[in-house]
Amino acid sequence: MDNILQLWSTSGAAQMTMGQAFMVIIGLLLLFLAIRKGFEPLLLVPIGFGGILANIPGAGLAYSAVENALHAADPATLAAMAQALGVAASDNVKDLAVAYSASGAQEHLLLQQLAQDAGYGNGMLYNFYNVAIASGVAPLVIFMGVGAMTDFGPLLANPRTLFLGAAAQFGIFATVLGAVGLSSIGLMDFSIADAAAIGIIGGADGPTAIYVASMLAPDLLGAIAVAAYSYMALVPMIQPPIMRALTTEAERKIEMVQLRPVSRREKIVFPLVLLILVALLLPAAAPLLGMFCFGNLMKECGVVDRLSDTAQNALINITTIFLGLSVGSKLVADKFLDINTLGILGLGIVAFCIGTASGVLIAKLMNRLGGSPINPLIGSAGVSAVPMAARVSNKVGLESDPHNFLLMHAMGPNVAGVIGSAVAAGVMISLVGG
């Protein structure tokens, strides 16, 4: 009989909170969007599934051994923990949790040991998160793979499009300002580090957003990653109205000069030029851009194709699986369900809109300043969201002139936006994280 009670009390149905039920539904919704609507499925399928796993009541997959021990609230264990922390009241789990997070490294180690001796272990997703994201390795490996998939040819043929990639990063910093502003008027409660991590959603680049969030605001990582990938999937809906509003029909019909051919040597040397520039100017961006350049060099140099193939396939796929599940671990109800999450979702879409507008407007400005004409529609591709944003530029352009193919021209600002976001990430880590 005791066993039946034990089984029932350990069952999910007996322990499920409203928040967990809600988050399971959110997870199912993400899976629906990914599978049925094609929202960035490679990331949102693992993230959504991980989110469901993280909210299985009683399983504690997203918690550390100590957190699991606290949740289990076994009196003897709690007493031992309270003693180790030097806290009096051992019956109040919340007080213990506060005391634990306030305590030093010594106490952390001790409580971990206590929890493990009492039979509690780290949850599966907690381990995945630590190995894949807290260490920083998964976003970097994915960035290496993305580098190995990127063709800088269009950018090299027309380097001026780098300015469009720079302009679109204004969305990031405007959003940082917005987040700080909302906090200063008391609507939200974001630190400057939180604000920086939220702003990076405007970079429209998943691995960069996850990397920055893991360093500056790990608690917000779940919401930031979900926002970043969701809005990237929504780019075909978000961008066109803004692009049409800010351009005239004549501007949208501008035909651009055909791109010159780019030699293989230029393509080999470019990642090294970029790397040296990073080394000289912004070491804080070295991990992200270094791995990106490394991947690109492996692809372009032509002598290590088996490494490049692996970076683009087995390695990036394996990493994506664990990265997605790890992000899902941050969708755990008691951390995700928060007014701040709504703020993040709202600020994220603002960031995308401002970035799009900035790119288009700077393209128009560049046309005023002279040089070969630039169709301002390619400016919106500067937010990255590779290659969706470049496709959108092409599609909106075709509406005005069915013979004006902008895809290739838009790839320049598109990959420039990846570099721009990584630079912005470096600046923010350097100024805020140090």
Binding site: P41, L42, I142, G145, T150, D151, A157, Q312
Partner: protein, 78 residues
């Protein structure tokens, strides 16, 4: 010994109960889908869609596809 008997009873009970519930849930699910969401797509289209999905790279879906297309256009422009 009694521990073993208990474990057997509760364990086997849970297994049977769980799989019985799964039978119910699966049957209900199949009927629900069959009635309200019958497969709309003919198999050929589905296969094509799957084939399409297979070509999408990780991290940035469609990246390779678009870049390939772009490179083709780029080359044919030369």
């Amino acid at each position: 010994m009694s521990q073993g008997i208990e474990l057997m009873l509760y364990g086997m009970g849970t297994v049977v109960l769980f799989l019985a519930l799964l039978v119910v849930a699966t049957t209900a699910m199949s009927r629900f889908i069959g009635r309200y969401f019958p497969e709309p797509e003919p198999p050929v289209q589905a296969a094509l869609q799957r084939l399409h999905a297979q070509n999408k790279p990780a991290g940035d879906p469609n990246l390779v596809a678009v870049i390939t297309a772009a490179v083709h256009q780029h080359r044919s422009n030369k």
